[in-house]
Amino acid sequence: MTSLELVCPAGTPAALRVAVDAGAHTIYCGYNDETNARNFPGLNFSREELAEGIAYAHKRKAKVLVAINTFPRAGGLPLWHRAVDDAARFGADAVILADLGLLDYAAEQHRGGPLRLHLSVQAAAANAEAINFYAAAFGVKRVVLPRVLTVPEIAAINQGTDVETEVFVFGGLCVMAEGRCSLSSYATGKSPNMNGACSPASHVEYKEANGRLESRLGGFAIHAVDRTAAAPYPTICKGYFQAGDYRGHVFEDPSSLDAAELIPKLAEAGVTALKIEGRQRSRAYVEAVVRSFRKAVDAYAAGRPIDANELVALTEGQKTTSGAYRKTWR
């Protein structure tokens, strides 16, 4: 059996240490600015914290990948260039990039160096042709696949490319092709691609109306629940809307991704690494998810069955789905 690499999120230095100690093979994280796609207040790493985090992980044989995966602002390139150069200087194992111009910069500046280039899910490379283009143009070594593919499509990609593939197995679920979605900026002006923020908390309000509790984003009602229930966070693609005669979750139910039971199939499809979403999650959550997935990955490598039910408790009462990995999702 193949051994799969477990790639785990760290939104803070404490989460990084916890994830490494819980058995993460690899950590991904970002700077506390608009260069990364999880640019939330109080989250992410200063330069000093990143350097220390990399040293901590390396001492324990874990790798660190730095996500610099927003699309640089026209006229603002130096901020993104510094982010890449500093990651290299601190000894990061790879940078995770999405923008063509930034990939071009990184490939030129760090040619022949130890810094690997990974293609972010924000680049939405969804087939072997696209991936091979990034490999040929920039020497990209790994691609994080969009969450819109089925397992057979992932297998076909791996047959069509030498680039390693990394897939999401747990956490938040984007239903749109990532990096190609402006829903958030349509409602709030803050965009995942430009600002690293999707449905930002600054534009969220909870409001009582007609005896119901509404969660709103940029003034648009996204959900309404009974006054006594917990109002869901107003992420647009998980919202409750009307479309013709239909009333409901037009895009996706408020569910999160759990593909633990698909680990054997993903491995057979040629996947190199499994990625857990959630840089915005608590330390306790990261620890529990990482520990549990490490157990599953080790079980698979040893030929033992995987206990997929263990993680349900961590999904915060939400429904889980194996998402697009199963074709019926579409």
């Binding site: 969804a126 087939n127 749109m176 092709a177 190609r180 979605c181 829903l183 239909y246 999702w329 579409r330």
Partner: protein
């Protein structure tokens, strides 16, 4: 501002073949536009319904003095979808890429870049120019400051820079078909539910406010982007062309209004009043260009 050219983007919706043919015949004969992009962006399942008519459409548009490009698909995954880009280049016509998977197929003669490809900065524009891009339509969410910086970079590189000037803005693309989903169908047995909505299916909030529009696997803004009042500013920024995205009402009228706007024959206020009559019931927005939220309504003062 008469240096601004007008481009008609590809039809985003699933219209019947006869309406598509008629739409392009009228464009060829009556619309004062320079360039027309034809073909399927959104869903490959629609293409068999009208692809046999495309050679005739292209010939008609060319006879009408329009430059014609063919678009590639936004999210090719099936083998036949992935091969389609090669076939587009084999026609010898200019191909507008809607996804980077076609970069391996690009012709020596160059290519164009559509608004669904992420061109946010001058480094990306420069990279694509070196690969042979001759024209780039910028993503609709870009604010004016970025448009200006990119248009200046484009002028230096010799790349035509275009902005999304009219029509519901493409906001997202997915592997999942929402038209099928809201009708309890799956994508594979969708019954072409998207054909029922000529300009997309309106999506309202629970309190009845207009918000988005569903178009198969694509999600559009409910508001129509309308930059007819911003043409002078775009021309001043050295933008080369403005893209008008087809809708089902008086679209030829829209192209005439934009031509009059470009030639200085319409004040922004007059233009907006006319726009309302061209597409009754539409709300207009230029929030993305202002750097504000995209849905911000444009009001006639």
């Amino acid at each position: 501002m008469d240096n601004l050219q007008l481009t008609v983007g590809p039809i985003l919706f699933h219209w019947p073949e006869a309406e598509i043919v008629d739409f392009y015949a009228r464009l060829a004969d009556e619309a004062p536009v320079d360039h027309v992009v034809v073909g399927e962006v959104v869903c490959s399942k629609r293409l068999p319904f009208y692809e046999d008519a495309l050679p005739g459409v292209i010939e008609r548009l060319q006879r009408g003095g329009k430059r014609v490009s063919l678009t590639s698909l936004a999210l090719p995954t099936l083998v036949r979808e992935r091969k389609a880009a090669n076939e587009l280049f084999a026609t010898g016509l200019d191909v507008e890429l809607s996804d980077l998977s076609a970069m391996g197929a690009i012709a020596d003669a160059g290519f164009s870049v559509g608004p669904l490809i992420n061109v946010y900065n001058e480094a990306t524009l420069g990279f694509l120019a070196r690969k042979g891009a001759r024209s780039v339509c910028l993503p609709p969410e870009l604010p004016y400051a970025s448009v200006k910086a990119l248009a200046e970079a484009g002028a230096a590189l010799g790349v035509n820079v275009e902005v999304w000037g009219y029509g519901r803005a493409p906001l997202a693309i997915s592997a999942r078909c929402y038209h099928a989903r809201v009708r309890g169908l799956s994508k594979d047995s969708c019954q072409f539910a998207c054909g029922a909505d000529k300009d997309g299916l309106d999506v309202r909030t629970i309190d009845g406010r207009d918000f988005l529009a569903v178009n198969g696997v694509q999600t559009l803004s409910h508001a129509y982007v309308n930059l007819i009042g911003d043409l002078a500013q775009l021309a001043a920024a050295k933008v080369n062309s403005v893209r008008l995205s087809p809708h089902s009402h008086d679209f030829v009228g829209v192209t005439k209004d934009f031509r009059a706007g470009v030639e200085g024959g319409l004040t922004p206020q007059e233009a907006l009043v006319r726009a309302r009559s061209r597409e009754p019931g539409a709300t207009f927005s230029h929030g993305f260009l202002l750097g504000d939220y995209g849905a911000q309504p444009l009001s006639v003062a």
